[in-house]
Subunit: 363 residues, 2 copies
Amino acid sequence: MDPRVRDHAEILVDHCTSVEPSDDVLVQVPPAAEDLAVAVAEEVGEVGANPSISLRSSRATRAYLRASDPEDFECPDHELAEMESADVIIIVKGDRNTATMSDVPSDALSAYTQARRPIQEARMGKRWVGTQFPATGNAQKAEMSTEEYEEFVYEAVNKDWAAQREHQAQMVEILDPADEVRIVSGDSTDLRMSVAGMKTVNDDGKKNLPGGEVFTAPVPDSVEGEVLFDKPLLRHGREIQDAYLRFEAGEVVAHDASKNADLLASILDTDEGARRLGELGIGMNRDIDRFTYNMLFDEKMGDTVHMAVGKAIEETVPEGQPLNESSVHMDMIVDMSEDSYIEVDGEVVQRDGTFRFEDGFEK
Amino acid sequence: MDPRVRDHAEILVDHCTSVEPSDDVLVQVPPAAEDLAVAVAEEVGEVGANPSISLRSSRATRAYLRASDPEDFECPDHELAEMESADVIIIVKGDRNTATMSDVPSDALSAYTQARRPIQEARMGKRWVGTQFPATGNAQKAEMSTEEYEEFVYEAVNKDWAAQREHQAQMVEILDPADEVRIVSGDSTDLRMSVAGMKTVNDDGKKNLPGGEVFTAPVPDSVEGEVLFDKPLLRHGREIQDAYLRFEAGEVVAHDASKNADLLASILDTDEGARRLGELGIGMNRDIDRFTYNMLFDEKMGDTVHMAVGKAIEETVPEGQPLNESSVHMDMIVDMSEDSYIEVDGEVVQRDGTFRFEDGFEK
């Protein structure tokens, strides 16, 4: 087995989820990542914990969704019981074909996500991590050979997370006590929001592997202005390009996209919270140096900002602050590398992708 | 997709487990059988039930078992919770390499089975079925090309189960009211047991697919004599050949095997019940016309008898009768095609593989 797979497994079990003896560990891995499932099983065995390892077939999910009536969707009680009873959850993505879900109607996908919301919520209270295996489909989507893509993934994943944490702490110090944030990019994006009272999290690769961002929650009603997400995003195997949102008093009042605008619309219509922002994130991982059509990596790129419509991440919302609820959490990215800046409480903290605390910053 | 896979899925969901709307259906399938997982997902979706579909990697289980200390084994609470909450369980076997478990110490395998006993017991109270996918490893083990083996499996599985049930009912009528059964084969096997008060079950492919046997439980203390299981059996990827057991007052008092006698010994040592018989079965499926090193099929062959050490099958033991408890249930086969007979209450009911109610029977 590729030794990088073993390194990846060790980081997942030790750094990300701190698996301890007797922990009940739920591992969900795509069939293409069976090697990683094997390596994780070995690590969990060495610790003396109890794994339940499950390869999840997106082909089977597609078949179920196409055969079902979306009105019949229910939360499967047995899956919920398993999730509620687990201590640690390790979820791996990776597809032989990233377009497997492309012929499932988007309303069925939204209804399915909605029905399974209790499972997602049960996970949120646990030690969990989501990560990526360099499967052939993801390599193809990234327009890379499988070998080059493997190198890309393992560079981003198997790294010194303590050093990354220190780098990011500089931005946490700026954002955590801040009131207002303004994101400006070209003529198309000028968005203001309050982050007052919210908590900025230093993502050092614990819940997302790779990590490499700092993120917080906007005050839900405070978002004003417009934003063009000029990096494409992949949702259920379909690509949304140039998503545009206009906000008033925190709510999306206009939206469009140059490709799959209907899919964007159906996601925004999922529930009340899907029309509000739940996250503001700033990418800071300089090792992720190219866009690969994969949000887990793309949102961590060093000169991007991302925002998610839908559910806020609970650890960013201290008790007593308003938390945006939704069954959706969809991240979208703005390229900040040119003609762009981030302002915090009236001061520019990043211009054209370079942070105030980095060499080459121009106020 | 091979249309025989869809037929197989339909029989599993309709005939075997009678899946109904809103049922929580747990589907466990090896990675080699992903096509069958897809077809089952589709059937379950059409019914309006809720599937949780899980590909189970024997490579991952092997890695876990080799890395663990058997003294640490615990029943994973999250897997137990999932099983307890399920309405229907569909379990598929099929391996790319049937020897995957061959380098796991047999005491680790026994301890693992023992630790997971509550999961197995939770399943027994549900609607469940175990079946086979014609994977390459199983074809190789059967000494057949994959294509020929696929034909063999689907002939045995996708068939008229009502007709098979009628054929078998003739043997149920003989065995169900009986007191004593005697199995004689050559010089090596002469075993007597009581089945008084036990229930004979007509296996028409509901819990095992293929089905094709009638089976009951011996009264645990009644088994006397010796038996040579002259068909080999595969256990955790290792082959036990010529298993020999001698019983006194129901208990194994001597045992041997010409290959992997240590594995046989460790299984008999698992617990108290592992040294007693839990099942007597009579194969009656004439469509299974060759031995394929696969108990699910081999035990259904028309001119064989099988017995299992370990746990009795609950539906064969009416309330008030003694039920043999164990975490083990290991079937072993006696070839009855030559120089053999089955006697029920002193009357020969099968000689050299031919039943009393079949053409060519000689008393």
